[in-house]
């Protein structure tokens, strides 16, 4: 009964109830009994011979076709090899190595000797390969045997990691170089003064002490720049939250950067006050760095204009314009790199750390803004930062 899936009793009960109703309505009881018998009999017949069970075929979920579909949309390039022939290449692999590789010898797809050695051996393993597709990239190849001569090869792009590692060591090397230069002169002058045992003429001593003081200050500003750079980088991903009116901030920071003796070179051109979501300290630093650069590298008595205006995209645009030599166009793409200087001697003499614009760039990025550098040789430079404005 259970097999049939439809229980027998409700049917029988219905038959019995109908029969009783028929009798009650005065139908011939014998006829009613015959009908009831036929009815019940048919019910029993169905119960004994249940309809044939449907057999649902479940396909083997791990057939090789399905495996190919399984890896097809993975972002990691994956190949399946039978012997040395590539039978499956997922979308990422085809994009990386070309559509032609399916059915080809694996050496056609990856011809680097190290890759061939790994894929030709019968063992599992991995290898790092430089120049697999383009000549500079680095890929890690993982090969895993599945038995029957079938093996899976996975390709992992390591280019970015290698680059990061490289830029990290570059940064450390640069930073230590920058730190060592002022230290060397401090130590040199201090040693000279000490060795002279007081025989040095006072004006010489005075001069040496000035150098030591200057180099010490440079070291100080370098360390504080490095610290703010790393702080900004650390906060890169949390958005600034304060609502900041810019006009006051710009004026304050610019005057701060100029100091008393250079304040008369500043000019302000503030269309209207605007508010942005920002970090007060960082935006001040941004303005300070830009104004300081403009005052330092522009004409010694040229004016520096600091302006605030609204762009068509509802951004607040802070621009700092100087008149001076301008910047050679070939330097512009590198200006925001750490320790990049267009004229190393001049920058050091002016007490620059080579980090100012790098810091500016990071601050602008954190505020989801954009940095533009426009410069014309012999005319001057305008650096502007555009930061999305808040409705006020």
């Amino acid at each position: 009964m259970d097999r049939s899936g439809t229980p027998l009793w409700p049917g029988l009960a219905l038959a019995a109830a109908t029969s009783i109703a028929l009798v009650a309505y005065g139908v011939n009881p014998w006829l009613t009994l015959a009908v009831a018998l036929v009815w019940a009999g048919s019910l029993f017949l169905i119960a004994i011979n249940p309809p044939a069970e449907e057999i649902i075929k479940v396909e083997d979920p791990f057939s090789s076709d399905n495996m190919a579909q399984l890896v097809e949309y993975s972002g990691t390039p994956i190949l399946v090899m039978e012997g040395s022939r590539i039978t499956v290449a997922n979308r990422a692999a085809r994009k990386l190595l070309g559509k032609h590789i399916i059915g080809q010898d694996m050496r056609v797809a990856m011809r680097h000797p190290k890759a061939i050695k790994l894929l030709e051996s019968k063992k599992n393993g991995a290898a790092n390969i430089q120049g697999l597709v383009r000549r500079r990239d680095v890929w890690r190849i993982n090969r895993q045997n599945l038995g029957n001569g079938v093996s899976v090869v996975e390709l992992l792009n390591q280019t970015a990691e290698t680059d990061i590692a490289r830029s990290h060591t570059d940064f450390v090397a640069n930073a230590s170089h920058e730190l060592r230069t002022p230290l060397a002169s401090i130590l040199g002058y201090v040693e000279t003064i000490k060795d002279s045992e007081g025989n040095l003429p006072p004006e010489k001593t005075e001069k040496f002490l000035d150098v030591i003081l200057g180099e010490g200050r440079r070291l100080q500003s370098l360390v504080s720049d490095l610290m703010s750079l790393s702080r900004i980088e650390a906060e890169k991903h949390d958005k600034p939250r304060e609502n900041l009116p810019l006009a006051k901030l710009i004026e304050r920071a610019s005057k701060d950067a100029a100091g008393l003796e250079r304040a008369d070179r500043l000019e302000f051109d503030i269309e209207k006050d605007m508010t942005v979501l920002g970090d007060e300290r960082q935006l001040e630093q941004l303005v300070r760095n830009l104004v300081d650069n403009a005052l330092k590298y522009g004409d010694t008595d040229g004016k520096v204009t600091v302006s605030l205006s609204e762009t068509d995209n509802a951004e607040a645009k802070i621009s700092v314009t100087d008149t001076g030599n301008g910047i050679d166009p070939e330097h512009i793409p590198y200006l925001t790199k750490r320790f990049y200087r267009t004229d190393p001697g001049r920058s050091r003499a002016a007490g620059g750390t080579g980090l100012g614009l790098a810091i500016v760039k990071h601050i602008v990025e954190r505020h989801l803004g954009r940095l533009d550098i426009a410069s014309e040789l012999g005319q001057g430079t305008t650096i502007s930062a555009r930061i999305p404005a808040q409705d006020t």
């Binding site: 040395s84 022939r85 070309g98 559509k99 032609h100 590789i101 059915g103 080809q104 010898d105 694996m106 050496r107 056609v108 797809a109 990856m110 011809r111 680097h112 000797p113 890759a115 061939i116 120049g131 000549r135």
Partner: protein
């Protein structure tokens, strides 16, 4: 390429292409390492390049044997025949490219006073372009891509221009610094070798174009 009725033929062709690719990979690495050895004066690296050339030679003879076997046993027609002929020729050219790298590697110990030797700084840029050409042409071969092959042919001009400028530079350097003439002369040979590598990459590109389309690319100069 469509599958063939005779599966063994498919297998043979696949193997042939695999061997060529393997040769190419070795040659590519040799170019790179021979130049690196030349710049840094790394004798061990240079030795490795010289040793690798034997392997390239062995592969070439394997390609020869296999190609002849395919022609003899399977009598290929049309694009199959072109493929086999091209493979035969390409193997010869790639072997030459390997030889040039070996030659550069052998000159590593002849160049002295690397640190103060200015002409040396000109080589990497030229070597880079030639290595790029070899890389691209092998990719074009693997993908049977006539367009990429034509691009490689167009790049050869750059290598030639580089060679001319290096030649002038080195000669004027020789005039100014007679003490380094022997090293500088070695560099001229190295530059010449790189230039030849570029030419051979162009040859391969022409054959790739031929195997893919059935005709040689139009001559741009003519």
């Amino acid at each position: 390429m469509n599958d063939h009725t005779v599966k063994a033929f498919d297998e043979d062709i696949t193997r042939l292409r695999g061997l060529i690719a393997e040769m190419g990979g070795l040659a590519e690495l040799s170019i790179q390492e021979s130049l690196e050895a030349m710049l840094k004066g790394d004798a061990a690296l240079a030795k490795g390049v010289v040793k690798r050339d034997k392997k390239i030679d062995a592969l070439e003879s394997e390609v020869d044997k296999l190609a002849v076997r395919i022609i003899a046993l399977r009598a290929p027609m049309a694009d199959d025949l072109r493929e086999v002929i091209a493979a035969l020729k390409i193997a010869g050219v790639v072997e030459r490219i390997g030889d040039y790298s070996k030659n550069i590697a052998k000159r590593v110990k002849e160049v002295e006073e690397r640190k103060h030797f200015e002409p040396l700084t000109l080589l990497p840029a030229m070597g880079e372009i030639a290595a790029e050409m070899v890389h691209d042409v092998l990719t074009a071969y693997a993908a049977r891509d006539p367009i990429l092959a034509r691009e490689v042919i167009a790049t050869d001009e750059k290598v030639d221009a580089f060679y001319n400028s290096i030649f002038r530079n080195v000669v004027s350097y020789m005039v100014e610094n007679p003490a380094t003439i022997s090293s500088a002369a070695q560099l001229l040979f190295v530059a010449r070798n790189i230039e030849r590598i570029g030419d051979h990459a162009t040859n391969v590109a022409e054959m790739v174009h031929f195997a893919a389309t059935g005709n040689y690319p139009p001559d741009e100069d003519a």
